[in-house]
Symmetry: C2
Subunit: 158 residues, 2 copies
């Protein structure tokens, strides 16, 4: 049978940063990511949700090998960007389901979230595209997350 989800991926080598309380006005996001690009740091996920008052939070993930360099760049940007606080997290894993049929199939993301819920895995962050649903979770919950998702979508059957 054709499975709407073709696979599960899990990346434990990512680390995440969140800039808390950046001014919510044009030109801020560009500053953050231009600085990282300038030194060749590859950014994987970028997540920004709803703003509160006139500030917002920007989260992004990079490979753990770029952690130190990214950290010092972001610290140096504090006054220029005028953000409230920098948070970093190395104990994070990105778990994703991938599939061609997802965008026209309501409920695929819901099933992934259900699998994680059944596995008692807390979903820290969510980001999606037409062919991928990604959740950031605690690294030490990654194995049980992958197993739960495999079971939900019967991905190990041949």
């Amino acid at each position: 049978k054709v499975n709407v989800v073709s696979g599960v991926t899990c990346n434990k080598d990512e680390v995440k940063f969140t800039l808390l309380g950046v001014p919510d006005k044009p030109g801020i996001a560009s500053k953050v990511f231009s600085e990282l690009a300038e030194v060749g740091i590859n950014v994987d996920m970028i997540i920004q949700n709803i703003h509160y008052n006139d500030v917002n939070d920007i989260t992004f993930t990079i490979d753990h090998e770029d952690f130190e360099q990214a950290h010092s760049i972001l610290e140096e940007l504090k006054d220029k960007l005028n953000y409230r606080e920098l948070i970093s997290d190395v104990n994070v894993a990105k778990v994703s389901i991938v599939g061609a049929g997802m965008s026209t199939n309501p409920g695929v993301a819901a099933r992934m979230f259900e699998a994680l819920g059944r596995g008692e895995v807390n979903i820290e962050m969510i980001s999606t595209s037409e062919i991928k649903v990604s959740c950031l979770i605690e690294e030490n919950e990654a194995d049980q997350a992958v197993e739960a998702i495999h079971n939900e979508f019967e991905l190990d059957e041949e």
Copy 2:
């Protein structure tokens, strides 16, 4: 020349909902999206960023034709989910750049954000994948956003 960005897309027919202050514990995200899937509502973007205390905010976009039905479902879920407030926004547009080369090219997202910043377009939300960077902006800024991005990536040249 090979352009790392192959195109810009703009969707003005989406509407967004944000559930503010949902409990940040396993099983919550699954409830939200299972209910929507049950009535066949297709969800496009799902965005969840960093939590505060023990709650988080979940944003998602759907086609405007599903607005009324989604709205009433979400309102009915208030007690069951125990969220603080439901926000809806019909004046939103999703602007995206698409490209195969983006994940290994630091700075592509930065250039999109720079283009928006130069166009004085405020980036309300951000969600990315390896082949797509999507920004939610005000619908009435969509045309200037698309134009700025076209100029940045020289997308109209043949």
